[in-house]
Structures are given as structure tokens and as C-alpha cells.
Symmetry: C2
Subunit: 129 residues, 2 copies
DNA sequence: TGTAATTCCTACCAATTTGGTAGTATAATA
DNA sequence: TATTATACTACCAAATTGGTAGGAATTACA
């Protein structure tokens, strides 16, 4: 039950972009500020970019910036890009299981799932400014 | 953010023992009922045994049984034996970090941590009977 | 007292995930 | 057109996950 560095770094990246709403922020700047390798950040931010959470400026003075306002980003939205759906047990979205309505174990894991997701979806990037 | 099979199987084992409060239940019986390999179950139950959550009957007609009543086992107690502390981020119990009281990121992860733990500590084995 | 049933312990192993690094291509713009 | 960025592809080591194998120790019971 841990979040990988991908998810944690993705959040850090997004907070940095949120604090720099005016212009583009380059990977290099984030890397230096947060002490995370450029190459690894590059890999993580490309996930955010492909998911359409950030937009790209190429060339000189380029970098990344948010496409929405900070309060429009649920943290869950960011984490799911790098972590996938945060399901504690594989049965959560198993359409082959037809006993969900009576299974005590399913309802336990599903409750945890809903708990986690409502926590992360209840907070936005704006909460970090 | 997933629970490994160790944690999930540990819960299944404990539910089986709870349903068999009278006597000893062998790994073989659990294995056959739940379709999980004997050898893997053996490994997981030895963690529960070392942690003192179950007691052992050796030799013929032996097996395992609970040492407490089902309602005295918090699920969190069981999961932490196989999963360790369920900390989403390593900073949660990092005594070297002295910025916790002002760090927004820490307070976010810590909130998630408390959320998860209060969920799993709020339920007991008796809820599965 | 012997044997079957059971746990205990140590070691091993393959697949996947995690946390990166390296090098080159491509794109934009000053 | 040179420079500064991102984009893409490939690779890699370490840790974790999810097991398996084999034998030793313990106990019940015939």
C-alpha cells in the first residue's frame, strides 16, 4: 500500500507548474529545485503530457504549463495517470465476478477503494498553493 | 496503491480460522477451500504465527486457530503483519524531516495515511462472519 | 513404537515493477 | 541557423511479488 515515486513526483511537478501559472516552466528548473534527475522527471511528465494534463512549449523558453486552473485539477486525476486506478484488490473491477453483492471481502476492499478515491478526488492542486 | 496477495490471503486465512473457532484448521483445508497453493499459504501463515495472531497445533490433527475472539482482531492489525505500515509516502514516519508542520505535501499524504488506517482499524474479523 | 499428518525452516526462482540512465531525434524560436 | 527545449526509444540494476522444493521437527493415534 504505497504510492510509487512516479505518483509522488507527478504531484510535485504539478504543484510547481501551478505556482508558475504565467509562463512555461522547464524540466530543468523543476529538477534543480526539487533535486530529482532531469531524465526521470522527463519520463514522468511525458505521461502527464500524453494524458493532456499539461501543455508543451517547445524550443527556447519552452517547457510545460497547466491547461486548466489549479482548482480544476483533482489530485486523484493526477495520481491515476501515473499509478493507474488505485484498486487495493483486483476484484474491484473484475467483471467476471458475479458474487459482489454477497461477498464480504469484496465489500471490504471496495469500501477502502472508495475511501481512498474520495480522499484524493476531494482535494485539488489549489490546496497546495 | 494496491494490496499484495500476501495481505489479501492473510485476511482470507483469518476469516477461515474465525469461522472455525472450535478447533484447529490445517493449511491443507484452507488451501483446498480457497484454491491457493499450500506452500504459499504456509509462508503467509507463518508471518501471522510469528506475530502472535494465531496459535499452532503441531503434528497430526494440528493446524491453526485464533488466539482472540474475532471481534478483537482489527483488520489493520492483520494487514500490517504482511504489508508493514501502510504509508503512502516515505516521509510519513521520517524523523529526519523537520518541516512536517508546514509541508503541504506531507499533510496531504499523512491525511491519506490516516484515512486508510482508520478504515482498516475500524473493521474487525467479526464483520466477515 | 511406528507411521501418517502436520507445521517449521531454509533455500531457491521467475516475472514484474520500480527507479532510473543514455543517446538521438524532433520541434520551435530568438 | 544555432540554440534550447521536449520526444522517443532502448536499456539496465535492484527490489518486490508470487511463488516452489525439500527436508526436519513434532504430535496423534493405531
Amino acid at each position: 500500500m504505497k504510492m510509487s515515486t512516479r505518483g509522488r513526483y507527478a504531484l510535485i511537478i504539478m504543484i510547481n507548474l501551478a505556482k508558475n501559472e504565467e509562463g512555461y516552466l522547464s524540466i530543468k528548473e523543476i529538477s534543480e529545485k526539487e533535486n530529482i534527475s532531469i531524465k526521470y522527471l522527463e519520463k514522468i511528465i511525458s505521461l502527464l503530457s500524453k494524458a493532456g494534463l499539461v501543455c508543451v512549449g517547445h524550443g527556447k523558453n519552452g517547457g510545460y504549463k497547466l491547461v486548466k486552473k489549479p482548482n480544476e485539477y483533482k489530485i486523484g486525476e493526477i495520481l491515476r495517470v501515473t499509478e493507474g486506478p488505485m484498486e487495493p484488490a483486483p476484484c474491484i473491477n473484475d467483471s467476471n465476478c458475479d458474487k459482489k453483492d454477497t461477498c464480504e471481502v469484496y465489500s471490504f476492499w471496495n469500501g477502502l477503494y472508495e475511501n481512498i478515491n474520495s480522499y484524493v478526488d476531494d482535494k485539488t492542486l489549489a490546496d497546495f498553493l
